[in-house]
């Protein structure tokens, strides 16, 4: 039996943080644990088969964490799994009640809002690029093939921005989880 597998684009498939956590936990219950979570794990994440574990996973967004951020989590018994850009992944083995890192609704909303902001930054970047390229496509005095290229890239940027707006909407709909 295979004891390694790779999941692709997971951060884009499970955009609601609570869903991403659940996904990690279900894999852990079957004995699948991430080998390493790092910068590129949102694209490809490798898992290795081991002992089934009852883990509580937490995904947090911290664009500018203070130095006591990690200490606080570790004091509470959380194990640092890794980070993808500013998204931190934590886990903790448990028996009985599933432990919470965000123990009230205000802080859960706060966490989800930080994710929405992070997506909003990329959304704005794609929108600005798309608008610039579309402007070039319509108004520039370039040749037809250059203009066509600009048009295609503008369309790609707008499509990405549209996809990200759906992501923000989906997180906003699940803001309490």
């Amino acid at each position: 039996m295979k004891d390694k597998k790779t999941y692709w684009l997971t951060a884009f498939r499970y955009v609601v943080p609570a869903d991403y956590e659940k996904w990690f936990e279900e894999l852990a219950a079957d004995g699948w644990h991430p080998v390493r979570v790092g910068q590129w794990s949102s694209i490809a994440m490798r898992f290795r088969k081991g002992e089934p574990k009852k883990y509580r996973y937490v995904v947090d967004m911290q664009p500018a964490p203070k130095k006591e951020y990690k200490t606080t989590y570790k004091d509470f018994g959380w194990e640092f799994v890794g980070q993808m850009a500013s998204a931190y992944v934590w886990r903790r083995e448990y028996a009985g009640e599933r432990p919470e890192s965000f123990s009230d609704i205000d802080s859960r909303r706060g966490r989800n809002r930080r994710f929405i902001w992070a997506v909003a930054v990329s959304f704005a970047a794609f929108l600005i690029c798309g608008t610039g390229l579309a402007g070039g496509f319509i108004f520039s005095g370039l040749g037809d093939s250059e203009k066509l290229q600009m048009g295609i890239f503008a369309a790609i940027c707008f499509a990405a921005a549209a996809a990200l707006s759906l992501v923000m909407r989906k997180i906003a709909k699940n803001i309490d989880r």
Binding site: V58, D60, K66, K67, E68, Y69, K70, T71, T72, Y73, D75, F76, W78, P99, E100, S101, F102, S103, D104, D106, S107, G110, R111
Partner: protein, 105 residues
């Protein structure tokens, strides 16, 4: 920031904020706050790491608490004068609620 703005932002206060502020009448760090609150409420309120970190950031940014020392990447906080004023206002509000509850239970 003036105290009226802070009042507007923090009163009425969530249970989490109230207990964190109350705990910081004595110098404590994040984990110490959780233990204290769990004891005070006999295990009913168990604050999570993310909640505590986030709440401390917010309270510090609004100058209701201030860091007093740092040991092994652990920050110890204490309530400020403004923090105490807000805590007392909230306590008075809760007292009024309690008074008006008489006869209900």
């Amino acid at each position: 920031m003036n105290i009226d703005k802070i009042k507007e932002r923090f009163i009425p206060m969530s249970e989490t904020m109230f207990y964190i502020l109350l705990s910081l009448c004595k110098e404590r760090h994040g984990y110490g706050i959780m233990q204290h609150v769990r004891e005070l409420t006999r295990g009913r309120v168990v604050l999570g790491a993310g909640t505590i970190y986030q709440s401390l950031q917010k309270l510090e940014a609004n100058k209701l608490i201030e860091p007093v020392k740092e040991e092994d990447r652990r920050k110890y906080y204490l309530i400020t004068k403004n923090g105490k004023e807000i805590l007392l206002l909230e306590a008075a509000r809760i007292k009024e609620l309690y008074k008006n509850l008489e006869g209900l239970i």
